[in-house]
Amino acid sequence: MGPIRITPDVALHEAMRYSQKLAAGLDTLRRLDDVTFGATGKEAVYSEDKLVLYRFQRDSKATRKVPILIVYALVNRPYMVDLQADRSLVRNLQALGHEVYLIDWGYPDLSDRFLSLDDYINGYIERCAVQVAERHGLKKINLLGICQGGTFSLCYTALHPQRVENLITMVTPVDFHTPDNMLSHWTRKMDVDLFVDTLGNVPADLMNFCYLTLKPYRLNAQKYVGLVDILDNKEEVENFLRMEKWIFDSPDQAGEAFRQFIKDFYQGNKLAAGEVEIGGRRVDLGTLRLPVLNIYAEQDHLVPPDASRALGKVVGSGDYSELAFRGGHIGIYVSGRAQREVAPGIDAWLRTRSS
């Protein structure tokens, strides 16, 4: 006998089940409204160019003294950290007594083409960090950098150590040349100068295409076959739609910043080597002396675990911790496990290090 034990009856049953789900989906989709994002009220406390710094509002006074500033990646929209009420890193941190701020980079257009990493890191992040610190009468704040925002946060902290009390990085690449880093592999032979000189800003649609082609069969076929399984559940379909909208809601990338990021980080792998220069100053992670918590996802296909874990080898801090999350690059925000583990993990780590 061969490996397949599918009987015609089973095939029929599966076809019927699938069709019934589709039929139920008809009704579900009729009842669906447009999905919305954001579970937590927020107020803009500072803006500059297209950037807005938000403070998330809370019903009660924060019990933790030092606020957390979240620095998200440029390549996706930051509302992923507060996607919906039961999938919100922000809300979970708030529930544990933290005051939370978030930098929203906005959508760069061609007038932003010449924004450099220096502008982003020594300019925007620094000014936001000062705003947050001043609002709380503090000199230092806690910084939570996510993905590319984590890389930026590392650079920022190395250049402005006086501003950061504790640094938390989530799914953050540090070693860009791990053998399983497909994105990095693809960029290696790209002529980035020609690319940016020609395109100006890098179109979001092109970036999305790259991400989808990291796992083309799962992300473009299997995901939609699986969608039918939840079509009879309005809430699940709304969750799916919310994620789908987030995935494709991407900003274009400011050309100059993209040029340097690809050249120095993806191609040159200079961060781990301490050779990146931002605004004429060298970024040496070995100089970091503050407490660092590095959270990575064990099944991350965008930022492989080894790419994140490399931080432990180069950071100068004697207080370096890692938190391994059992999930992927997206699951670390939205999965049930993430709600149970990520914010509590951050809080527990901070409690022993910050007032």
């Binding site: 490996p3 699938y18 989709l29 447009d34 592999h185 693809w186 020609l194 969608l227 039918v228």
Partner: protein, 392 residues
Amino acid sequence: MAEKKTGADWLGDWQALQQRYWTSMGEMARKAADQAGKLRPADMPKWHEGLEIWSRAFQGGRNGHGELVERALAHGKAYLDMIQRVGSLAAQPPGQVGTQDWAATFTEMMKGALPGVGASGFEALRSANIHGARGVEQMMADIEPVLSAFLGEARALLGVQPFGMAREHQERQQALASAVLDYQQASARYQALLTRSLERGIENFEGKLADRSEPGRHIESPKALYDLWIDAAEEGYAEVALSEDFQDAYGALVNTQMRVRQLLQDQVERLTAALGMPTRSEVNSVHRKLAALKRGNVDADALAELQAEVARLRAQLDDGKEPDKTTAKSSKPRTSRKSTVAAGKPSAGKKTATKAKAARPAARSTASNRKPGPSRASAKGAAAARKRKLSR
């Protein structure tokens, strides 16, 4: 003892099951029609058309989620086709269908049927109606009309020695034609590797099927078979996508297209300049100057803050006081033309709000009411005020 079935019996059983399926589908469709008021008797199901019925029925209930519905239906149709074929194979008399038959049949079916799993693996992504994702190849298709217009007969001139008054124009045309050929070669190489990745996926699938021959590891549902195929295809793809060949091919694909775009932009610029219209280079130049201007302002602000700080410290020294050490330790960022939004006002992007804090100290040459809080420059602030240059 059960009577042994003939091949015809198996086929008859399968046909009966299919009939049951469509009878049930028809019943569901009738119910849906009653609810939606969309279906007529003429819409009753025919072979392979079940999903078309749902598609028509869904038209009344998309609520702006049309793309999702389209995708769900496209993949649902392919998936049901797969199940039907799997059922058909399963209906063969025992022993007549081997592992390789399953692998070959299934893969052939997947190649042709499943969106996103076409011969090159990217059919769904390549389709123009995918919102929010466009690859390098679609970008080339986008410029094809303009490219054709500019290329003209240039391909025919390749290799011909340029001469005469139009020599430079001819050279540019030849360069563009040559770049297009380079792109086409790069694209063909990239396609070949995608095809190779699918072949590797098939080989993986056969291997995975063989692994499932052990008792307790058999595949017992169409969904499990489908998922196994996806696993195998992804592994085959990853293997090729992480190869040196793919790295070279991907780089060449991107670089050659950028070269085509660059040459095309040059041609368009010449044309628009001749017509007295603004060019991309001019717009870039303006944006570059704006960026430099902003940085200059930021540096000027930082310098002003530094001067204020020095003046304040000097005054303290003149008064015989100890300099304020707390202030001296802190550093101030390069300030910016920014706005601090008054607390409690959710006003994203507003530029007119004023800072709800005390007025700034004096000695700010470029101070405005949109500047940040109290000035506390330091040695690091001075460093921040250094002359900066554009990264490019």
